[in-house]
């Protein structure tokens, strides 16, 4: 779907007023999904992404040799 400035304005209004759904050219959207597609708000990270990011942090930590307490039990000593 091609979004116009009018669509963007309507979605922004719906976001600010807390309305969960918005109709754009006859199609009902969840407001936050439409806002993400228009770039008004950043896309929510999925659980998969969150896991990957966490894992990436861990790898980086191992590379630097610094492990914080409360991690996964791996220790340098």
């Amino acid at each position: 779907m091609k979004f116009s400035p009018k669509h963007k304005r309507v979605v922004e209004e719906h976001l600010s007023s807390g309305k969960h759904t918005v109709i754009l050219d006859g199609t009902k959207w969840e407001t936050h999904i439409a806002a993400q597609m228009m770039g008004i708000v950043a896309p929510k990270k999925s659980k998969k992404d969150k896991y990957r990011n966490k894992h990436a942090d861990l790898e980086q930590t191992l590379d630097t040799g610094h492990i914080e307490d409360g991690g996964d039990g791996i220790s340098e000593e």
Binding site: K2, S4, K6, H7, V10, E13, H14, V22, I23, L24, D25, G26
Partner: protein
Amino acid sequence: MAYIPVNSTAEFVRLEINADGVDYSGNVAAAFDGAGSGNVLVVPALQDVTVNATPGTFRWKQLDSLSEKVVTIPSTNSVSVTMVLDDTAFFTGAGNTSGIFSITNNKTETYFRLYWQGNTSGDKYIEGNGYLEALAPTVNPDAPVWTSPLTIAVTGDYTEGTV
């Protein structure tokens, strides 16, 4: 004050009709948003649209007055458009709604909804029911695409609504 421009994406005039044979007179909106939504035909390629909402008047003169007196009588309402004929809209239709030619030919009661400036949240529309009339498709060598006027003779009142 705000104008109602219709010259850009998401602001186009849109005319929907539903002639699926169901009686929606108690709730015209159901013909478009509810049970009848699968039988809605969008009239495509509009070239002009005129909404007529004319209260009738009865006028008389009296010997004791310098000016006419007026009372209203029931309104005459209609929606007139000119359209470029589209094969699907004209002959096939949508769902249980026949094509515009069949609806006119069979004098099927037709529910309509006219969006003034697109159908996005907050946009205004009017709706009602009536009968299609004044179909007069024409074509000629200098304008070799079929076009036709179409009028919806509205029975009863218009209803105003917001998307």
